[in-house]
Amino acid sequence: MTEVLFRAAEVIDPATGHEGVTDVLVAGEVVEAVGRGLESHGAEVIECDGLVLAPGLVDLHTHLREPGYEYKETIASGTRSAAAGGFTAVSSMANTDPVTDHAGIVAEIRDKAAEAGLADVFPVGAVTKGLAGESMAELGEMVEAGVRMFSDDGMCVPTPRMLRNALVYAKAFTDEVVIADHCEDASLVEGGHMHEGSHSYALGLAGRPAEAEEIVVARDLAVARATGGRIHVLHVSSARSVELIRRAKAEGVRVTAEVTPHHLVFTDDDLVGYDTNFKVNPPLRTAEDRDALRAGVADGTIDVIATDHAPHAVEEKESEFDLSPPGMIGLETALGAVLTHVVAPGIVTLPRAIEAMSGTPARILGATGHGGPIEPGRPANLVVFDAAERWVVEPPFASKARNSAFTGSELSGRVRHTMLRGSFTVAHGKLSR
C-alpha cells in the first residue's frame, strides 16, 4: 500500500471548519491520519510549507463533449484538464451527441472516465429527450443509474409547463434530484451575441439583454416555489438575478445557484476587440453585474463557483464573432482566477471560495466521496496549491482546446498536486498521464 505524507500544509477543510497548519497522511485510497508531527514510516513525504491543502475541487458545470464532439474535447482530455486545475470530480453536461438522455450514455461516459482515471465524472442527464424541449427524458432510469442533476444546458427548459412537470415527476425519486436551468429566454436572446448595452450598440452586435435571464430566473423560482422541487440556476450573470435568488432563498424556495469564474472577472468592456474567446452564454455583463455576483458568492446567495468549461476547436473560434460558438474553457484557470480576482482583493474568504468550488458542488451532485471532510477513512481526494505562485496563462492547455479569455493574463495561485483516491493525477505541477 503506497503512503503519502503531506507535511505542514495549511489545511483548509470547510466541511469541518478546520483551518491551520497540519500533516495529512494518505494510505492507499484513503486519508489515514490528520494531525501535527505525523511520522512518515517510509511514506513519500511531500513538503507543503506555505502551500494550501484542500478537498479536491468539484466542477458542477463541465462540457466534456464526448460522445459526439471529440474534435473539441474528449473525456480523457477534459478530465486531464480537470486534474491540472485541481479538480477531482466534474459534472458533465448532457449536450453530447447522442444527447445524454438515457442511462446507456450515462454508463458509457462513466466507463470512459474510469478508464482515463483522472477525475470522477458525474454525468448530468437531459431534462427533455434530445434536448428538444418537447418530451421528458427517462429521468427515473437515469436516477437509478446515479444521476442527481438534470439539465438542458445550452438551452433553457423552454416552457414553465415542462419545468413544472419535470420538478413534480422527480418527486418519485430521491429528494436530492435537482433540475439545473440555463436561464435565458429564447425569444429575447435570439440572434444575440453579447450583453445588450452601450457596447453592443456601438459594436453593431445584436444583444442578449439581462432581462432575458431575469425573466427565466423569476419563472423558475415561481415554479420551484409552487412545486416544492429543487432547482439550480446555472451561470448567473445579472445583478437582478442575484437579488431574485436572494429573496427566494429567504422565503425558503429550494434553489441553489452558480457563477462562473469568467463572470466574476470580465465585463462587456472586454468585448470591444471582438475577441471570440470572450463570447459566452449568458454574456459577460457590466461591472455592476460582476460586482453583484462577487457579493453573491461572498454572502452565500450564490452557492457554487462552476467553470462552464466549454471547449471548442481552434478553427471554430478563429472565425467571425457572430459565427463563433459561445463558450470558453475554464478548468485550468478557475482556481487561479478566483484566488486572484475574488480572494486576494478580500471579497471572498479562501475557505468560502473552496467551499463554493468543492464541498457545496459535491453535495449538490451527491458526490459523497468528494468535497471533504478531510478525515481518517475518507477517500483521499485532495488538492495542494500555492496561492502565491504567479503564472501567465498560455496555451497549450491540458484540454484539447485553447479558447480561454485568460490567455496572456497573469494569475496568482497554481496547483502543485492533485490526488484522486490516493493516486496523484498531478504531482509537483506535472500531470501523471
Binding site: Y201, G204, Y274, E315, E320
Partner: protein
C-alpha cells in the same frame, strides 16, 4: 493617419478633412478622358467581399484601378470561406499573396478588426455587419461639404433603421466629429436606446424636425421578415417616417436629400422625391470613387503627411 480604417473612430477631424481635401483633387481625375494616375502602380489591393455588394465593390475597384493598383476581387461565392475555411485561414492566404491593402465587406460585425490581427497589409472596412461603413460616411461628408460648403453646424437628420444600419453609425460618428448637429429619427424600436451618448439627438417626429434641416438623410428599410417585429407595416412606416412629397416640400430651400442606396422607392422615400434636384443620390455614388481613391492613396502611397496631389505630375512624383 491610422494604419487601418475600420471605424470613423479611427480618424481624427483633421484626418477627415485631409481625406476630403485629397478626394477633391482626385475627383478631377474622374472627369478626364483618361481616368488614371500612376500613384499606386505595383501595389496590390484585394477586394475581399464576403457579402454581396456590387455598388461598393465596383466603387473600390474603380478607385484602385484609377490609381493604377493591381486589383484582385475575392468574393464569397468563389472563396473557401463558403466551404468552411476559417476567416483566419483565408486572411493568411490573402497575406501570402502579398496584399498591400485588403478592402473587406462582411456580414459579420468586427471582422475587419479581426483581420488586422492576421495580416500585415492595410485593412479598409467596406461595411461590416451592423457595425460601421466608414467610406460611405466619408463620401457623404464629402458630398455635404461640397454642396453646402461646410460640415460644422450643419443640421442633419438620419431617418430610419439606425439600430441595424452601419451607415447610420459611421455617419453619426463622422458628423459629430466634424461639429454637425445630428438628429436620429425612426421608430423607437429601431433607434439604439443609448444613442444620445454618441452626441446625437433622438426624435420620433419627423415633421417637427424637417423644417430646420440642412440635410435629410434617409436609410434603406430592410424588407426582411423580422421587420414585422419592429414596426407594423410598410404603409405605416411610410406614413410616419417616409420622405413623402409633402415632407420634401417642408424642407428649407437649399437643403439636401441623401440616401446611401439602394432605395426602396415608395417605402422610405417617395419616387418623385428621389428624382428632385436637391436629391443628390447619384452624386454620392460619383463622389464615392474619389473618396476611396483618396483613402487608398493616403494609406498606401501618400501617407506620412504628403500633400494631396494637385495634378498628374505631382502624383507621379509622390509615387513610391
Amino acid at each position: 493617419m491610422n494604419r487601418h480604417v475600420l471605424s470613423m473612430h479611427d480618424l481624427t477631424a483633421d484626418d477627415v478633412t485631409r481625406v476630403l481635401d485629397t478626394a477633391e483633387s482626385f475627383r478631377e481625375v474622374g472627369s478626364r478622358v483618361i481616368k488614371k494616375v500612376p500613384a499606386l502602380r505595383g501595389r496590390t489591393v484585394v477586394n475581399f467581399f464576403l457579402e454581396n455588394s456590387t455598388r461598393t465593390r465596383i466603387s473600390f475597384e474603380l478607385a484602385a484601378k484609377r490609381l493604377s493598383a493591381d486589383v484582385i476581387n475575392f468574393a464569397a461565392g468563389g472563396s473557401s470561406v463558403s466551404k468552411g475555411e476559417s476567416l483566419k485561414d483565408t486572411a493568411l492566404t490573402l497575406q501570402a499573396m502579398g496584399a498591400d491593402a485588403i478592402v473587406i465587406r462582411h456580414s459579420s460585425s468586427g471582422s475587419p478588426l479581426q483581420l488586422t490581427g492576421w495580416v500585415e497589409g492595410h485593412v479598409l472596412n467596406a461595411g461590416d455587419g451592423t457595425h460601421e461603413h466608414p467610406t460611405q460616411a466619408l463620401l457623404d461628408l464629402y458630398t455635404m461639404r461640397e454642396r453646402l460648403g461646410r460640415l460644422e453646424g450643419l443640421r442633419v437628420a438620419i431617418v430610419g433603421d439606425v439600430l441595424h444600419s452601419r451607415v447610420a453609425r459611421s455617419l453619426s460618428f463622422g458628423l459629430v466629429k466634424m461639429g454637425a448637429d445630428v438628429t436620429l429619427i425612426g421608430p423607437p424600436t429601431l433607434i439604439p436606446p443609448d444613442a444620445p451618448a454618441w452626441g446625437v439627438h433622438v426624435n420620433y417626429d419627423i415633421d417637427g424636425v424637417i423644417p430646420k434641416l440642412d440635410v435629410c438623410y434617409m436609410l434603406r428599410v430592410q424588407r426582411e421578415r423580422q421587420r414585422l417585429e419592429y414596426f407594423p407595416s410598410v404603409r405605416e412606416y411610410n406614413r410616419l417616417f417616409g420622405l413623402t412629397a409633402t415632407r420634401a416640400d417642408a424642407l428649407p430651400e437649399g437643403s439636401l436629400i441623401m440616401h446611401p442606396g439602394p432605395m426602396n422607392r415608395g417605402v422610405e422615400i417617395d419616387s418623385d422625391v428621389a428624382d428632385l434636384p436637391q436629391a443628390v443620390i447619384e452624386e454620392q455614388v460619383t463622389n464615392g470613387i474619389a473618396v476611396r481613391m483618396s483613402l487608398l492613396y493616403l494609406l498606401l502611397g501618400g501617407g506620412g503627411g504628403a500633400e494631396p496631389p494637385a495634378g498628374r505630375d505631382q502624383v507621379e512624383a509622390l509615387r513610391d
